[in-house]
């Protein structure tokens, strides 16, 4: 007698949607909690930076350090955008699971909506990798090899 086949239970969409909703809520919470302290720190650095000419006379060498702090603090702008996009993507996926619609067209629509929300070239690049079926390790490689534009590329006058 053959052993009974092990049945694999499919993931139930409602439970998956619940988990996705939970993830979206956690991302929202993280964004909400992190904004006030970063804004407060930015305010203090900003107040100091606005006085750079005066401060440099009193604390020689402070000017480049304050400027470097301003550049560094801008990490939060990119981070919050990325987390927002991940949150929105998770919510779009939850919505798609709840209302599957017509398979291929629905998937193409979801793909489009997720892609459109991205605001950074780096995000689009790894999204296209994922859409092409690249392994997750490739995403990390793409992120690691992405380098910020050189100083001369950062500014373009038309």
């Amino acid at each position: 007698m053959n052993p009974p086949e092990k049945k694999t239970e499919p993931l139930h969409a409602p439970e998956v949607v619940s988990y996705l909703d939970l993830m979206a809520a956690q991302l929202e919470g993280a964004l909400h909690e992190s904004e006030p302290p970063v804004t407060a720190i930015s305010g203090v650095i900003g107040e100091l930076a606005a006085q750079i000419p005066t401060l440099e006379q009193q604390i020689p060498g402070i000017a480049p350090r304050l400027r470097a702090a301003i550049v560094a603090l801008q990490f939060y702008d990119r981070l919050s955008q990325r987390l927002t996009h991940v949150r929105d993507g998770v919510m779009l996926l939850a919505g798609a699971l709840q209302n599957p619609g017509d398979g291929n067209a629905a998937w193409a629509g979801l793909h489009d909506r997720v892609r459109k929300q991205y605001s950074m070239e780096q995000e689009r690049r790894i999204f296209e990798l994922a859409a092409a079926g690249a392994a997750p390790e490739e995403f990390s490689k793409a992120l690691a090899t992405h380098s910020a534009e050189s100083e001369t590329d950062r500014v373009e006058l038309f």
Binding site: G43, L48, A50, R67, Q74, R78, E121, E151, R154, V155
Partner: protein, 120 residues
Amino acid sequence: MTTVILAVDDSASMRKMVTATLMSGGYEVVQAADGVEALEFARTKGVDLVLTDVNMPRMDGITLVKELRLLPTYRYTPMLMLTTESSQEKKQEGKQAGATGWIVKPFNPEQLLSTVARVL
């Protein structure tokens, strides 16, 4: 007379750092949290330069530039985009909307000030 710059960004921390940098260069700064707020202000007062983010709720920066260019007081005002967007496609959109230039975040304070000085 002090040069006035309208700084538009939906991120409060970015607005603080942009404002501080511009003030350290001797500029007066008016802040707006999105394109709608900036346009409401612009309909009542002119400024010497607009520095705006692209991705913002209610009204994005490229739409803001298009709307501002329709106002007689802003037809020739320098308008710089300050954004995480770096694609050529987006830059072209900005250029066609009437932007004067494009700065990719994170900005370097000295480079921001020298760029502002160049376009004023």
